[in-house]
């Protein structure tokens, strides 16, 4: 295999892993927007809080990379579920304390409240872990940390690396995406959510408790953000109070790119943004020497501007819903 192909595959893997993380966060934006047309600007911080919670929880258990396989896999699972519950409760709480009181206020009020919550959570982050980046507790033994599944498990002779960590990201993301789709399209509560998103007043005439249903959207979005936070903590091998800002903006872009309010759109948008991020960080340099990671943010937001100009409803977004 020549070098270009190898690098292409490598950046593809990185892009897909990063993209699935972004998709998890983007779903939280799109769920909430779909139901109350609010851009929850605090969502990136809910993700950050999920990462912080996982780091603290794991440190408290005192498990290290010498604790043995069962304990390590166990604590990873506990931390994953713990972060999901923590972030879900946090997101739900923000809605109850803040947005719910502003439901009938002009939309700008809730938007500004969201920005306010974002600042509050960042400052809680600083208080919690300081303002410098920190590394997660080392619980993954070194030999697994960088192990290449393609050579070690599949016996392939390749320079492309698909690490256990990449598998971890994808292994957490895909079941969550499938689970969410099932929940929204197949369960009673999911149907109530879709009805509320389409016509809140008509939904309440059906006997649907609107505030509770909106709360469920916040719970689900928060849980996905918490999972993403826990995964990002180990995938990036560091965390910081500002981590929600970049991921949050990228995920928001992904949601708009795919068509905000559309679940599939958020996943497609997330993967596209992840790929753009990864290829811009390294691969493009092979062809355009002046290109480098410093252009990634410009590229992503350039994409956002192009979408907003040429297809404001997003790639999979529906045209303005038909009102009879």
């Amino acid at each position: 295999m020549n070098v270009t192909v190898t690098l292409f595959l490598q950046y593809l893997i990185i892009g897909l892993a990063t993209g699935s993380l972004i998709a998890l966060i983007a779903l939280g934006y799109t769920l909430v927007y779909g139901i109350i047309e609010l851009i929850n600007f605090a969502h990136g911080e809910v993700f950050m809080m999920g990462a912080f919670f996982a780091a603290t929880l794991i440190a408290l258990t005192g498990i290290t990379n010498e604790s043995g396989g069962v304990a390590i896999v166990g604590i990873l699972l506990v931390a994953l579920v713990g972060s999901m519950i923590f972030s879900a409760a946090l997101n739900f709480g923000i809605d109850r304390v803040g947005y719910q009181r502003l439901r009938n206020a002009p939309r700008l009020a809730a938007l500004i409240a969201a920005i306010g919550f974002s600042f509050i959570l960042q400052n809680i982050g600083i208080y919690w872990r300081g303002s410098n980046p920190f590394r997660p507790p080392e619980i993954i033994p070194a030999e697994y940390r960088s192990m290449n599944i393609l050579t070690e498990w599949l016996g392939l002779d390749t320079a492309v690396r698909f690490r256990l960590l990449d598998l971890f990201v994808i292994g957490v993301t895909i079941p969550l995406l499938v689970g969410l789709t099932w929940f929204v399209y197949k369960t009673r509560v999911g149907t109530a959510m879709r009805a509320t998103a389409q016509d809140r007043e008509a939904a309440s005439l059906m006997g649907i408790n609107i505030n509770w249903t909106i709360g469920v959207a916040f719970l689900l979005g928060g849980a996905l953000a918490g999972a993403a936070g826990m995964v990002a903590l180990y995938y990036n091998d560091n965390a910081r109070f500002q981590m929600g800002f970049r991921y949050g903006l990228f995920a928001f872009t992904a949601a708009v790119l795919g068509g905000i309010g559309n679940l599939t759109g958020a996943v497609v948008g997330g993967l596209l943004i992840g790929l753009a991020w990864s290829f811009s960080d390294g691969f493009v340099k092979l062809f355009i020497p002046a290109w480098g990671p410093q252009w990634t943010t410009s590229l992503v937001f350039g994409l956002l501007i192009l979408v907003l100009v040429f297809r404001p409803s997003g790639l999979l977004g529906e045209e303005t819903p038909d009102k009879v």
Binding site: T191, A195, E201, A202, L205, M206, I208, N209
Partner: protein, 236 residues
């Protein structure tokens, strides 16, 4: 017949604008009662207030003697009041079946007997059961809105302008179905601009003007009333 629904001295506001002024009306078990009036008279507002979408500022609304005017809309729906709202308000991006299932939301799972009853009343809905509701014609959407309300097994069915925007043939069909629904035991409060048709199927009626009930009587009395004939039946 015992009173099912009792609206007593209800005043309601949109912001500072008073939409209902001491509205009093009642619907007895097994009746079709119609509320007629022109655009903006307060007909839809009356139904919204009964359903709990709008909180009355004064007065009370009772269902079988129990006060419901202090309860939110989703609780009122669970107590047995179903509404087919103005403009149909069906869930366009969901299938006909999903819309009907949502009608039965308060009961958990839809009752197969109710489903069969609705699909027998409206055979067109059976043909289009898997179709997205928003792609149907206006008449079919109206049938869905009524069918969806029936799925809730309502003790009182509120119908808001079921004839609006339909062809004369469909209007006749819809009114026949309303009679049939009533004959099957559902109490109906019918809001209409089409006063002639409404009084034709109703037992009693109320006339509402700028938020006030100005006239009430049996359907026959109202059909013979000069004011009603001039204002709503288009007679000189």
């Amino acid at each position: 017949m015992p009173t099912m629904l009792e609206v007593q001295d209800v005043s309601a506001y949109y912001g500072n604008i008073q939409a209902l002024k001491n509205v009093t009306l009642h619907v007895d078990q097994g009746e079709i009662v119609t509320l007629i009036g022109s655009n903006g008279a307060g007909k839809s507002t009356t139904l919204k207030t009964i359903s709990g979408l709008l909180r009355p500022r004064t007065g009370s609304i009772k269902l079988k003697g129990e006060v419901i005017s202090d309860k939110p809309a989703h609780v009122v729906a669970g107590l047995g009041i179903a509404q087919s709202p103005e403009g149909r308000r069906i869930f366009n991006r969901m299938t006909v079946m999903e819309n009907l299932e949502l009608g039965a939301y308060s009961h958990g799972k839809p009752d197969p007997v109710d489903l069969e009853r609705v699909l027998t009343l409206f055979p067109r809905l059976r043909e289009r059961i898997g179709q997205k509701a928003g792609t149907m014609s206006g008449g079919e959407q109206q049938m869905l809105a009524i069918g969806r309300a029936l799925m809730a097994k309502p003790t009182v069915l509120l119908l808001d302008e079921p004839s609006l925007g339909l062809s004369p043939i469909l209007i006749d069909a819809i009114f026949n179905i309303i009679k049939e629904i009533n004959a099957q035991g559902t109490t109906v409060l019918l809001v209409e601009q089409n006063a002639l048709k409404a009084l034709d199927v109703a037992n009693r009626g109320y006339v509402i003007q700028t938020g006030n009930i100005v006239l009430t009587g049996t359907a026959k009395e109202l059909l013979g009333n000069d004011m009603v004939r001039k204002a709503y039946l288009g007679e000189e």
